[in-house]
């Protein structure tokens, strides 16, 4: 057991890509958690998809021992967090388990939207924040300017030497300022408090499924001691479990005899499903347990929904199984079965954002070798229905355009809105304002700091779920950053737009749009589908319609020639190959009204592109 005064618990927070995981690498290395041989870049990003995309998705906790310049050895619990807004919930959990944070800011990029969002969260937890200006090795680095920016915008001290309370200057890449960082955090971040003799109170910070250990639970002990053989109960979940293993990650998994107050580590207790270990729950002993639970976490709510269907209908069972397994490791998405006239059986799944959606989709296809069709993302609409002959008036939540009720019964519709904060170099401001305006945005604030503008907009979420973020990135060449929070439902004049291909409505392409933009969206969809659907043996009309009214149309001309010349010397093999290729091609398409639509078209049709 470590003396409380020698423990430091901290999260590393930053805007995406500012170098959190790389800094974590250096801290681990400096403290000898891993040898140089065992080290790899962003060693804590251990999922394939994290490695490939170079981003952190899942927060990771590591325990390090650091012998400081004062000669004392400290137990450091470091939590590396993701920078992307979709995974903000990972940050908030980590923050709740710490007393402080290292705020990493890129010395060239300066403060960005997610920097602010994370700082505010950290301040809410009463944290001590140690600013770290990273990437000072870059030619474009301006540590002084960024230090001023941190003081000015974030409101925490950053100028001046780190020993005097200023920011630590680092290059995580070249290993500069690593010891200074460790010293600063040992000196400035307060030690945890807690009572070893009080009833056990431990916060369930995270849980995931491990094929060897079953469900692994990350805990932060507040009071008391947790050890093997202890009978514990989850105060919210109400279940009881026998602890069979206690330990920490260094980052290698290491068993420990116990975890005392102020410590962060893992436990296992023969739990089969992550659902039983809900994050934010309080763990206490069965006998003589705590009376009052800790304040839990805000529940995360999926905000974006889409349909996931196997390309090959025969893969449905495989998809069901794979989604189930994936969900064991990521309780933040939800799913339920869905069936579509043309796509067959699949699932409607809810995600925390578009990156989250993309990642789940990619993991399903890669880790489980599934080919998927993803339908247009949509949000949840609240529809108020008047009474009908057989039914009273009622309110329903619609996750799927396919479930859109009969328009005659709809009295009002509400849709979710968000408050978006966009942070951008001011040369891109004009284009960004236009983008927000086009997406029905209402500007609520605009301030300038230096050469940068911060603009706040209220926007309907359904205008953002699709490609808003992509567009924002492309018009600002990647410089604008974006953060949002939900601000509730508002009434909107929404309609369901159907896309008809060869006179048949394609359920997977229908979407809910605001009446004011319906025609324009319809036209765009038809134009894109014209390019996305290959020519067929007959001409194909493509129409966008609201109810029975066609608001846009295009036609794909018929194919006129498809002959290959010779069939030489009885060589049938080549012709047969062609037939096999055609069959394979068709397997990647979906047929509606005799028209084969390539699976990519379902998403690509919605990409609004340069409007």
């Amino acid at each position: 057991m470590t003396d409380l005064s020698k423990i430091r618990n901290f999260s590393i927070i930053a805007h995406i890509d500012h170098g959190k995981s790389t800094l974590a690498d250096r801290l681990i290395q400096h403290c000898g958690g891993l040898t140089d041989r065992e080290m790899s870049e962003q060693v804590l990003d251990n999922m394939d998809i994290e490695k490939e995309r170079g981003i952190t998705i899942k927060a990771q906790t590591v325990r390090l021992n650091y012998t400081a310049r004062d000669g004392e050895t400290y137990e450091l619990n470091l939590m590396d967090t993701p920078g992307h807004v979709d995974f903000a919930y990972e940050v908030s959990r980590s923050l709740a388990a710490c007393e402080g944070a290292l705020l990493v800011v890129d010395a060239a990029q300066g403060v960005e939207a997610q920097t602010l969002a994370n700082v505010y969260q950290s301040i809410e937890h009463d944290h001590e924040i140690v600013p770290v200006i990273n990437k000072i090795d870059l030619p474009a680095a301006e540590p002084e300017r960024v230090a001023e920016e941190i003081e000015e915008i974030v409101g925490i001290e950053a100028t001046g030497a780190w020993e005097e309370g200023g920011a630590v200057l680092t290059s995580a890449k070249s290993g500069i300022g690593i010891e200074d960082t460790l010293e600063a955090l040992v000196r400035r971040i307060p030690a945890p408090t807690g009572d070893r003799d009080a009833p056990l109170k431990a916060m369930l910070v995270d849980s995931w499924y491990d094929p060897y250990l079953g469900v692994v639970i990350l805990v932060r002990v507040m009071d008391g001691v947790i050890k093997k053989g202890l009978n514990v109960k989850f105060m919210q979940g109400g279940t009881q479990h026998l602890i069979d293993r206690v330990g920490c990650f260094t980052p290698k998994r290491t068993d420990l005899p116990e975890l005392g107050p102020g410590e962060i580590g893992f436990i296992t207790a023969q739990i089969k499903e992550v659902e039983q270990a809900r994050v934010g729950d309080t763990i206490t002993t069965v006998k003589g347990g705590a009376e009052k639970a800790l304040a839990g976490y805000k529940e995360v709510q999926p905000v974006v929904f889409c349909g996931l269907f196997p390309v090959d209908a025969a893969d449905f069972e495989k998809l069901r199984e794979s989604i189930g397994k994936l969900r064991l490791n990521d309780a933040s998405f939800s799913y339920e079965m869905e069936s579509s006239a043309a796509l067959g059986f699949g699932f409607r799944a809810g995600f925390l954002g578009l990156l989250h959606l993309e990642i789940i989709q990619e993991r399903l296809s890669r880790e489980y070798d599934l080919d998927l069709i993803t339908t247009a993302p949509s949000v949840v609409y609240r529809v108020h229905l008047g009474h009908s002959k057989t039914e009273d008036a009622k309110t329903i939540d619609i996750h799927n355009p396919a479930d859109w009720p009969d328009v005659n019964r709809i009295e009002t519709i509400e849709e979710p809105w968000i408050k978006a904060v966009i942070y951008t170099p001011d040369e891109y401001l004009g284009a960004i304002l236009k983008l927000c305006q086009d997406r029905r945005g209402i500007q609520t604030d605009l301030t300038y700091v230096g050469g940068r503008a911060q603009v706040s907009y209220e926007l309907p979420l359904n205008e953002v779920v699709f490609d808003f973020y992509d567009r924002l990135k492309s018009i600002s060449r990647g410089y604008a950053s974006f953060d949002y929070e939900q601000i509730g439902l508002r009434e909107g004049d929404l309609v369901k737009m159907n896309i008809l291909v060869n006179a048949e409505a394609v359920d997977a392409l229908s979407l809910i749009v605001h009446r004011s933009v319906a025609e324009e969206r319809g036209r765009g969809m038809c134009e894109r589908l014209k390019d996305l659907i290959p020519r067929h043996l007959f001409k194909i009309p493509i129409q966008a319609a609201i109810g029975g009214k066609v608001i846009a149309r295009e036609t794909i001309a018929a194919l006129r020639k498809d002959v290959t010349a010779k069939c030489y010397g009885g060589d049938i093999t080549r012709k047969k190959k062609l037939l096999e290729k055609q069959k394979k091609g068709k397997a990647r398409m979906r047929e509606y009204g005799n028209v084969s639509i390539p699976q990519e078209a379902f998403i690509a049709a919605l990409r609004m592109g340069e409007e």
């Binding site: 194919l559 006129r560 002959v563 049938i572």
Partner: protein
């Protein structure tokens, strides 16, 4: 039942830039060695083919079989007759380049037993012939046609159209002139850019642009109208003949009857087995030396595969296929051979026809044959 024998001669003087046949340029070929190899390969096929029926057709293809010494052709024919016997009306075709050198051999080839030639005229314009990399000129080709008509009972010519920039008027004039030559058979192929040919590289590098599909479709229509009016209607997608003058040998492929194939790269279908010979001449010779035949692969075909092959071939023909007959041959139900919903769709669109058990592609559907096959052939028959 027809019995057909194909003999491949793999050599050419130069490689044409559009050509993806099994053709090779070699300075010399040892005639004795090739005679022995082809005879051994022929004997092997004879041992495999159980029935006593005589041959109904022989086809010398290439490469450029007109470069074969006539004595070699004669020797091979003698042996074939000795092994199987010849039907009284056997068709013996040889592919020839219409050059003056080769025309000089026509009399000897006819004496050896060849009674039909297929001349690779390709175009009646010198400029087009140069573009196609042909070594003969237009006048030379016309003379060769005349010599051939003199020497052989039946003469066919090949032309390649839908060339880059070719207009309807150009092709109209060229085809009219070709029809006026009075051959009773014509193979009219659209220029297609095949992978791993020089033209494929040229197109990739932007040296020229192939004719677009819309124009090519127009030329296809024109071709069919003109040949039909001249009494040489299309009996296969690219082949036109006066009634009774169809290539019996090629009909064997298209009707999916058995054919034996010997020589480098030759394909055969016999007794539910697909055979293919080694392609490269040297490998072929080495294989024959080692195993007394040139087979690289002999593979038994299951019923579904045979049915799909029969459809692929048969639907190229104006006469279409007899589904009931196919079902008898390959088992199963006639309706299971064709995707019925698609058949109905394309029937309504006027692209396919059916009369009783016969089913085929209409005049309107022919230019889209490749795509139609992908739609029509029942997907259960196609390997995935």
């Amino acid at each position: 039942m027809a019995r057909a024998l194909y003999i491949h001669w793999p050599f050419c003087i130069a490689k044409c830039p559009y050509c993806d046949f099994n053709s090779h340029v070699r300075k010399t070929a040892d005639t004795d060695q090739w005679r022995d190899a082809l005879l051994a390969d022929m004997h092997h096929e004879h041992l495999q083919a159980v029935s006593e029926e005589p041959l109904t057709s022989i086809f010398f293809g290439g490469g450029t079989p007109s470069l074969m010494p006539p004595a070699l052709v004669a020797g091979l024919l003698q042996e074939a007759e000795h092994l199987w016997g010849f039907a009284h009306d056997i068709e013996i075709t040889l592919e020839a380049n219409p050059s003056s050198v080769e025309a000089a051999n026509f009399a000897d080839l006819a004496a050896a037993g060849v009674n039909r030639v297929s001349l690779g005229v390709q175009s009646l314009h010198d400029e087009a012939l140069r573009f196609l990399g042909r070594l003969h000129g237009a006048d030379e080709a016309l003379q060769a046609v005349a010599v051939a008509q003199d020497r052989f009972e039946r003469v066919s010519i090949d032309l390649i159209y839908a060339r880059p920039g070719q207009s309807e008027a150009d092709w109209h004039a060229e085809l009219a002139r070709a029809l006026s030559l009075g051959t009773t058979h014509m193979s009219l192929y659209q220029l297609t850019i095949e992978p791993s040919t020089r033209f494929a590289t040229d197109v990739r590098q932007g040296v020229f642009e192939p004719l677009d599909d819309d124009n090519a479709a127009d030329l296809f229509g024109l071709t069919r109208a003109m040949t039909a009016a001249a009494g040489l209607p299309a009996y296969e997608i690219s082949n036109h003949a006066a009634p009774g003058q169809e290539s019996r040998h090629n009909l064997t492929y298209w009707r999916y009857q058995d054919y034996l194939g010997i020589g480098p790269g030759a394909h055969g279908r016999r007794c539910e087995t697909a055979t293919v010979r080694h392609r490269k001449p040297e490998n072929y010779l080495a294989a024959v030396a080692a195993q007394r035949h040139g087979i690289a692969e002999a593979r038994a075909l299951d019923r579904a595969e045979q049915a799909s092959e029969a459809l692929l071939m048969g639907l190229r023909l104006a006469e279409g296929v007899d589904l009931a007959d196919m079902a008898r041959r390959f088992g199963g139900n006639p309706a299971a051979l064709i995707d019925q919903a698609k058949a109905q769709l394309y029937h309504d669109l006027g692209m396919v026809w059916s009369h009783g058990d016969r089913f085929g592609v209409t005049e309107q559907g022919m230019p889209l044959l490749e795509a139609l096959l992908g739609e029509l052939v029942a997907s259960d028959l196609v390997a995935s």
